[in-house]
Amino acid sequence: MTAAALSRADIGPAFIPVDIGHDVYAAVTDPSTAFWALVDKTRIQEELAGGSLLDAYRKKVGDFARELHALRFELKPSGVYLNPTERCNLNCTYCYLPGEQRSNGSHMPHETLNASLGKLRDYFRSVMPEGRKPRAIFHGAEPLMNKEAVFSAIDAFGDDFVFGLQTNGTLLDDAALEFLTSRNVSIGLSLDGPFAGVTDATRKTWGGKSVHDKVLAAMEKLKGYGSWSVITTCTTENLPYLTQMVELFHAHEVPTCMLNTVRCTLPGARGVKPADGDMAKAFFAAMDRTHELYRETGRKLMVANFANILIGILAPTARRLMCDISPCGGGRAFFALAADGGLYPCSEFIGLPRFNGGNLLAEGGVEAALASAAFQTVTTRDVDTFSPCGDCAIRHFCGSPCPAEAHEMNGGMEKTGAFCEFYKEQVNYAMRLIADGKANDYLWDGWDEDTETIFNHVLN
């Protein structure tokens, strides 16, 4: 233990105040354990100096530290993102996969896909508790470009994996929908605008044709299906339309969407990157609109990337997305398989050869990749250890995503991701909702059914 750590241990835990922009409440946090409390601003000095809150926290600080450490450093992978082809029929402005692969790349042969799933099944059986199935998500490029191999694999391994498919939706015909929904495959679509003119600015075919109406048609057919979602990638092109976007999703009964900041891993994406302040303004307006729609209709539209921030605050171990935690889930909670058999910490790295951890079907397979220098570069990226994250009060609600864009855009793993200020504002917004008793309105019903309340301090 270092001298500084010993000194901290002598003093005990201390709180950092955070102005969350609320009329009544401010937050205090101990970032090292992701602990937080909302305190009346008139009482903040006494809480910082010590009191019943700090006393109650002292009794739990060891448990919280162990819980967070386990979440950050002791997980075994339970999911894989499978790229069954390098090809895509679209040429989106911000894609993180190289254009040459997407236009002229190869499909993974059917036999290789089946052999890969067999090897993955054996790996997951060796690390996961009995009775829990791993997730296998077919991912892009566009997986339905190699539809026959994908569907054959889903049928062959349906007892071994919980399957998902992320698709641009253009090849999702009636037969494909029937196949996937009858097997309870979770389906993710992508749509960037409330009307074609906006979607077309970033998502279109290689020949420049619009795909907007095809995605809307797929959404219409998925209405009522239990397990589907739509991703909107937020760029300078669609930022003014985010509120209309959530109105469209709500009208189409989309159960879950994501309003993601564009990942700036490759240069093409950086050309449509919104400023943090603009992103925050448009995003919170859209979030406010989802709440109005919920109050008007009684039906929620889950904005998953924001819900995950809320859950990361309320129940750190219950988070579903593993981007907003450090180290991120890449190479820890999941990994990615490229169409050439290469293993990467996450799909985001597939265009970056230095992050290839080896071939799945080679000797060593997954274990060798997890132990490789390529994976370790990502799995050891720790916000506690670099500036400015190391001093940030919300670093374990944010995680400083994403390592791929930190590395490629900002020059190294010990750099922040692309949207530092936006993440701070998201946490403040989430804290304000908790202060106002509205957090559950932004989460799906029963989100905490499998959780246990381990701290509930109310001081009147």
Binding site: Y25, F35, A37, L38, V39, D40, T42, R43, E47, L53, F64, E67, A70, L71, L75, P77, S78, Y81, R132, K133, R135, H139, G140, G164, Q166, S186, G226, S227, I231, M258, R263, A304, N305, N308, L314, A315, T317, A318, R319, R320, L321, M322, C323, G329, G330, A333, S347, E348, W444, G446, W447, D450, E452, T453, I454, F455, N456, H457, V458, L459
Partner: protein, 51 residues
Amino acid sequence: MQQAKHKQHQQTAATAPTAPAPMPTIAVRKSCNPDGIGLSHYVLMDKKAAK
């Protein structure tokens, strides 16, 4: 209504102003076995839907 307002005004004037009581502190933490595998390109939020 005007009478009631007048009465209220008299009461307020007769009582020394007091600061409002502080709002209660809120601090909650829940815990479960972690099993999230979502990333920004794909997510399934509801655990039950994945089973």
